[in-house]
Subunit: 140 residues, 2 copies
């Protein structure tokens, strides 16, 4: 399923590395040394709010659930934070972030805090482990 | 549909005012003078992550969509922010917050910022308007 008019927002493209393609969404990761941080971007041109997806909202929820479970298994995090904010980049995207009790921002959300890049090998391991958990053809 | 073992977390009960009951979730509002702020709490005992809902995750998504649309119609906000965080209160709850370009926290998320209570009449109007939009028996 693909919307030929969809293209990934340039800011999202610059801020993330691709993990793979789900049925509805492009799955990407943000390189942050403190948190495993994934982003789902439904490939629906012009979508800004979740409500813009219509019937595809159900599919987005299924992908939020499967990505959350994969992230928990891979990272063994204590909590998953999910957010669809979009105040800076309008293109609809959903953050799925692994958190630990006592991590640097705990218990505050990580959105709006500065990004601290991690080491490249760890970030690549995360992307490949998530792709493997979700049985995606890894493109990262 | 009701889980007899469910009860609203005492902290959520203290921080919110009830708006009404949807098929899956208790709908409540947080009194903030700067933002119309709603909270959906699925009535599923023990749920912490969205993934804990199983098949009910689809129903939660339908309620996120209908509440988002109601909030946009009632508040005429520019953007909806949706978040399932739960780092402080573990009981699964989803924030649905109306935002405007140039509001006090824009473009940052509102979570983790101090709450500034608004005037009581405006808060009551919001709750009643949302209940009316969703055709709920208003309990606020």
């Amino acid at each position: 399923m693909s919307d030929p008019a969809f293209s990934l927002d340039p800011q999202l493209a610059a801020d993330t590395v691709a993990v793979g393609e789900l049925a509805l969404s492009h799955l990407a990761a943000i390189d942050h040394g403190d948190y495993p941080w994934l982003v789902l971007v439904p490939r629906v041109a012009g979508a800004v709010e979740i409500a813009d997806l219509g019937d595809d909202a159900t599919r987005l929820m299924a992908e939020i659930v499967s990505v959350s479970r994969a992230l928990k298994r891979v990272s063994r995090c204590d909590k998953i934070n999910v957010g669809a904010i979009g105040n800076v980049v309008a293109q609809l995207h959903v953050h799925i972030v692994g958190r630990w009790h006592g991590d640097p921002a705990w218990p505050k959300p990580v959105w709006g805090t500065p990004i601290r890049k991690g080491e490249a090998a760890g970030f690549a391991r995360l992307r490949h482990a998530i792709a493997a958990e979700l049985e995606l053809a890894s493109i990262g």
